[in-house]
Amino acid sequence: MKEHGNKGTEHPLSILMNGVYAIFSELGFEIANAPELETEWYNFDILNVSKDHPARDMQDTFYIKNEEKKVLRTHATNTSARMMEKMASDGNKEGAYISIGKVFRNEATDATHEMQFYQIDGCMLGENINFSNLKGVLTKFYKTVLGEDSEIEFRPSFFPFTEPSIEVHAKFNGKWLEMMGGGMLHPNVLKNAGLDPAKVQGFAFGGGLDRIAMIKWGIPDIRFFYHGDLRLNQF
């Protein structure tokens, strides 16, 4: 166990967060942030999630009493949405953003599910930013975090905000694990943000930070992160 000496110990998620930011900063990404209590527009509509999409059900999303059209964000992708909108209003055609933020899901908790957890979310846009770039960036990222010898795969998936959509899987300690979702930004998302899909294209990705910490360090229960227990600060 790490000695609790003169210098204070960091929360494992902070250690990981800084590490993730460092990797993406090196790749040219700008750190971004957005509200945790968000409008439905930035959490859903702008991201091409239709009004009737099952993800918008109360069973999954926290809506706010007496605050119509507000939700606790269900993913950190609201940050990418806001940054794309900013790109459009600034007249920029290129950009790359990374954010790690707390997200919320209305669900029963257990060792692998929490009502709050952290998500890594990012996007990169330009005239020619393509799927091969997505593969390059995410492979670099996971190999840095999990080790150069870890294997990374991209498998078909579906999300309303990307087309094509993929899931990133990593082989860690001999086991394949789902790490992240992503894909090429759906033209509706670009349009909603005010960008022209004929001129700008790009990729977006998002996935759990807590999950990486659990896999990387072998932490058995996601709830440990939020108990305020210093026995967790071992690294």
Partner: protein
């Protein structure tokens, strides 16, 4: 969706072996959640069909067509071999009173004989985890798992007449389901009714009143298409997700009804009346289909596909993929005009074709390339401030904690929470206070003389959210906004702080703590001058047993009258049980006697 290998094989003679199929699914279609080898030699896959392919892949035929297309092998279309029964005139009337039913097809079949199904029917259903009920119900289920189209059969003689009404439910209208359960409907929820009763909740579940039973002689077969949103809302509200509602929720093509009506008719002709198949009477199909699904065209080019994928797929390769699937398309040089198959409601825009081609071509074949763009990142102010505050507090010996955003009182309340903590925190103080208490109890275990902790986190006030900083130590709890903290401590925020990748793969593994209470023992000895503390440490260490989780730690030493006193602390804890005094005392006694052997005096 459970998919049987043998069932697929009836459509593809050259089907690769099961393990190979699992890889094809994983890398080119969807996740394989399970794979079960059955006693009869069949292999059953549990496929996690993606929502955009639920239109066509919640079915054996759909999966078989997809595989045949992907592998470029022959799909055996069985329809030309169907012995389609001759049909007689009908008096059946369909009264469609809602737009939420996009198509309603029905036909009457007389002189069926309800009984147990044939063995091949039973084994097909059992292979995918379904129970055989009787030949008629089984025929509807087999057709659904084969084609993807939900089908319902009513006992015609239990209906008020040969007229089916598809209408919104009246407020408070009740229906007893096949399961015997009674449900009250909300106004506007869709029902299938005769002139007297609601017979079924449209697309969700059938009712008891017109149930097919052992005495049923004449049936009405329904093959319909219901609105996805309305079906989902009804099924969710009533808490009855069914194989039928799951399919309608994902939006099926109304065109599928025609295929399915043909298939169920052929199947009923084959198994609907084992003893007197000659006597069955198939009446004409009544088909209400007002807004026919329109044909779509997607134009895309090879350049477009490559620009999105960053690949070098040739026009010939694209053409080959489209040909393998027997898709309808035209190619003019490097441009394609593509007409999606009627069931492929997911193919709408050119980007959909990038995915269609990309996943078949293989995402693994697309190279890795780290991009360069002309973009100058700007330093993020909030992150920089948080980093500066964290670095300062860590340097001052404060340890970082995180606590819950949810609490039981506050200014912002969430709706329908699964937990009893329905409010968002208005401060960090409550959370850090509990954290302080918890850690205080564990001080000996942590090996610290005092607890110093901090949290940086978002709080939620009526009209805004704000990042606060809270600290707790023996002087108490202090909390303020991030900006206030920076101002108070005059922190410089020009730099990102300690932003280096500290996540090498060699970092140590987490060590789980014990859930059982720990026990602390202090031991102090007088030793002669010249005896180093590490000599005493060594003796304790060699004799303290396997239950020590922390220590021996020197916490006090002083010299007096030519002697030195060393005080060490040991923390005992078991991962399996609560320790009792007597077992710890055994180790302590052993340490005491070793001390004496060295001529040291226990204080």
């Amino acid at each position: 969706m459970k998919i049987s290998y043998n069932w697929l094989k009836s459509y593809i003679s050259d089907l690769p072996e099961a393990n190979k199929l699992a890889d094809i699914f994983t890398y080119h279609l969807c996740e394989v959640e399970g794979m079960e080898k059955r006693e009869d030699g069949d292999v059953v896959f549990d496929l996690n069909i993606l929502p955009n392919r639920a239109h066509d892949l919640l079915s054996h035929q759909g999966v078989a067509r997809e595989l045949a297309g992907q592998l470029g092998i022959k799909f055996n279309d069985l329809t030309p071999k169907y012995k389609v029964p001759e049909s007689k005139p009908t008096n059946l009337k369909i009264d469609l009173q809602t737009e939420k039913c996009h198509r309603y097809m029905a036909r009457i079949v007389r002189n069926v004989k309800v009984g147990p199904s044939q063995d091949w029917v039973k084994s097909r259903l059992e292979s995918i985890g379904q129970r055989s009920i009787n030949n008629i119900v089984d025929a509807t289920n087999i057709t659904m798992y084969d084609s993807g189209q939900p089908i319902h059969a009513f006992d015609l003689d239990k209906l008020a007449g040969e007229r089916i009404i598809v209408r919104p439910a009246k407020a408070g209208e009740k229906i007893t389901l096949l399961s015997g359960e009674e449900k009250e409907l909300k106004e506007g929820e869709l029902v299938i009714a005769d002139e007297q009763n609601a017979l079924a909740i449209a697309g969700v579940k059938g009712g008891k009143v017109a149930e097919v039973d052992a005495n049923t002689k004449n049936i009405l077969i329904e093959v319909a298409n219901f609105d996805p949103v309305s079906t989902r809302k009804t099924s969710r509200k009533l808490g009855i997700p069914t194989d039928s509602s799951k399919r309608f929720e994902n939006d099926l093509s109304p065109e599928l009804c025609s295929f399915a009506m043909l298939e169920i008719s052929v199947l009923i002709a084959e198994i609907g009346s084992p003893e007197r198949s000659e006597g069955m009477e198939f009446q004409e199909i009544v088909d209400i289909y007002l807004n026919k699904q329109k044909e779509r065209k997607i134009n895309f080019s090879t350049d477009f596909v490559n620009k999105k994928l960053g690949a070098n797929i040739s026009s010939d390769e694209i053409e080959n993929i489209l040909k393998q699937y027997c898709y309808t398309f035209k190619r003019i040089w490097d441009n394609f005009e593509f007409i999606p198959p009627v069931l492929r409601l997911d193919l709408v825009i050119p980007e959909d074709m990038v995915e269609e081609i990309g996943r078949v071509y293989g995402y693994d074949k697309v190279k890795l390339e780290i991009p360069k763009i002309n973009f100058k990142p700007v330093q993020n102010e909030i992150f920089t401030k948080i980093s500066a505050v964290r670095e300062k507090l860590l340097a001052d010996g404060y340890n970082e904690v995180m606590t819950y955003s949810f609490t039981n009182k506050g200014e912002v309340e969430v709706l329908a929470s699964a937990s009893d903590k329905k409010f968002l925190r208005t401060d960090l103080t409550d959370g850090i206070k509990n954290s302080y208490k918890l850690n205080k109890l564990n001080m000996a275990l942590l090996g610290v003389k005092e607890i110093k902790i901090f949290e940086i986190g978002t709080i939620f006030l009526k009209d805004k959210e704000q990042i606060n900083v809270a600290t707790a130590d023996k002087k108490g709890i202090a909390e303020m906004s991030l900006d206030k903290f920076i101002e108070n401590y005059k922190l410089k925020i020009e730099n990102y702080g300690n932003l280096v990748p500290r996540t090498s793969p060699l970092s140590p593994n987490f060590k789980m703590w014990s859930q059982y209470p720990f026990m602390t023992r202090d031991i102090a000895v007088w030793v002669g001058e010249g005896v180093e503390s590490n000599q005493v440490h060594k003796v304790i260490k060699e004799n303290d047993g396997e239950l020590v989780v922390r220590g021996p730690e020197l916490f006090d030493s002083f010299s007096k009258e030519g002697r030195i006193s060393y005080a060490f602390r040991l923390v005992f804890q078991s991962y399996e049980r609560t320790l009792v005094d007597s077992e710890v005392n055994v180790f302590m006694e052993k340490i005491y006697s070793k001390m004496k052997e060295n001529g040291w005096e226990i204080r």
